[in-house]
Symmetry: C2
Subunit: 367 residues, 2 copies
Amino acid sequence: MDRENLELRSTISADGALRLHLEPAVLPEPGPGQLLVRVEAAPINPSDLGLMFGPADMKSLAQDGQALTARIPDGAMPAMQARIGQSLPVGNEGAGTVIEAGPDQKHLLGRRVAMLGGAMYARLRLIEAKDCLVLPEGASAEEGAALFVNPLTALGFVETMRAEGHKAIVHAPAASNLGQMLVRICKADGIGLVNIVRSPEQVAMLRELGATHVVDSSTDSFLDDLTEAIAATGATLSFDAIGGGEMTSTILNAMEAVAARSMTGYDRYGSSVLKQGYIYGSLDTGPSVLRRGFGFSWRVGGWLLFHALQRLDPATVERMRQRVLAEMTTTFASHYIARITLEQALQPETVAAYMRKSTGAKYLLTP
Amino acid sequence: MDRENLELRSTISADGALRLHLEPAVLPEPGPGQLLVRVEAAPINPSDLGLMFGPADMKSLAQDGQALTARIPDGAMPAMQARIGQSLPVGNEGAGTVIEAGPDQKHLLGRRVAMLGGAMYARLRLIEAKDCLVLPEGASAEEGAALFVNPLTALGFVETMRAEGHKAIVHAPAASNLGQMLVRICKADGIGLVNIVRSPEQVAMLRELGATHVVDSSTDSFLDDLTEAIAATGATLSFDAIGGGEMTSTILNAMEAVAARSMTGYDRYGSSVLKQGYIYGSLDTGPSVLRRGFGFSWRVGGWLLFHALQRLDPATVERMRQRVLAEMTTTFASHYIARITLEQALQPETVAAYMRKSTGAKYLLTP
């Protein structure tokens, strides 16, 4: 059996050089509980890009044989100390076909599985069977490639809402694959959702999916539209994938303006309505700016799927996984604008394209 | 009995004019449960200044007979909508002597009481007896003037720490009256406390009080000193009265640097140690800037004494009140650099002095 692997690795050296290369290795035979999977599809998520390129200056991208190099700005190096010199595999999730199986897993030979656990940008992945979802017969690798990060994040938003006592959600930017899943979930479950998008085309796209409240941050009426949508839904919880800039601040201020409508008198400390903003991504790694016109009853925090899954009760998490499998070709379908190979992933012009991070323009790696 | 009152009022008009004046009124006789108190001392806290002057441009201060006027910048008016045209009394807390009492409160006649509830910048205050603490015989009005806001806030920080599972606290700026109380409480209770101050004089002052960790943000070694003090105490909770700027962000980044020391490998999402920053004041009303080098396990939020007292269990709150009374001349003693009358409080040069908000330079109103 051929167990020769090629694995995409990212390394940052002490002098600020980023290097991406394909590392050859021969994998061992799968042991008990393990599967050897031929990776057939793996999405390029923003979280993957963060690990691949870190804070590299993308203008410095250069080819070096089959490898790719870039410079890390000096100011960004302190935050990189913990990974200096480590050759890190990349790729949070993917799907593929089981080509070898541990002695207790032979029944899975030939089955297609969805996988979570890193190192998916590779020809092969040796993985614990428990970190896989076995896909229904006939499911394609593309259908199974992105069944963890986005679907569980979207469901995680809703479960966080329930656990923390909110009744509706504001999401920005909402036209992403994740945002589209959230629209479908909230529509099915009757949950109020305010979608913030960045263009009229995205407004039309989400309305097509059945979204009720879609506000366009590129218009002059954005603040008014946002405030009215928050008033209509009663949203006091937001999820922001941008991180840098003022989006969360803008949302909290709009929530406070809505809360102030039902206050009977002036209170210098603002409303007592708790406004919670979560930052779950860093599309903009710049500073988050909070213009605190929203009183003292507010919280902003980081939201990470892995932490949320640990906080939620296990029965809820199992219910989330089953729902993802049951609705993989509907609610949780992802869309890709291009398919690239491992080798193409290291070509500067391809990198420039998939780094654009523009909403909905997601790439699929097909090793 | 003379029940003629003079009460300091703050009003903002729709066209952006702030007006502070002394409002005469004749108060009614105290009813059941009520006391009529001659106000003898009331501190000028930053929270009082917020209500008195709002976001007024202090360069526009002008005298108008016995009143004082100033301009509110246009950009700040939207946040003032809820108070337009309302004549608001000022002064969160104070102390004085009971000169009349409701039929069921005659036993308190002549006693000195500490009061919470607003409208303390006045000659007289008609107040519910339950909103007072009866001071021990011989206690001065100055000793009793500030027994609510700062003492309960300092104790509230410690109870919040316990309730949320942290083991030590970072406080900035720490040389205030409140900060001094916190130093004494933490020393007595054996709680780790990192004090951030702004000058060598303040370092010396807090060390004199028995503080172990005092770091000076005006020095070049501030970041290193802060990080080492956080490492020494294990603090993962901070209270920041500045609000604007980067103080909370700086503290959270230092906490993350300490957490990273015990991480075994690189994690692109940062440490899983929850870092909580509370903003409890707005000495700087400008935007809070968060440079998110602290991973995804963090929260920043508003902290308000009144909300905290509602969240804590009643037995804890009663214990806090009893401790304040028992330690009023030691742990909870406040210091003032000047005493002014109601009329002086409306003179532009006096206003400029007490608005300086410089740490430790607190004024006492003695109507």
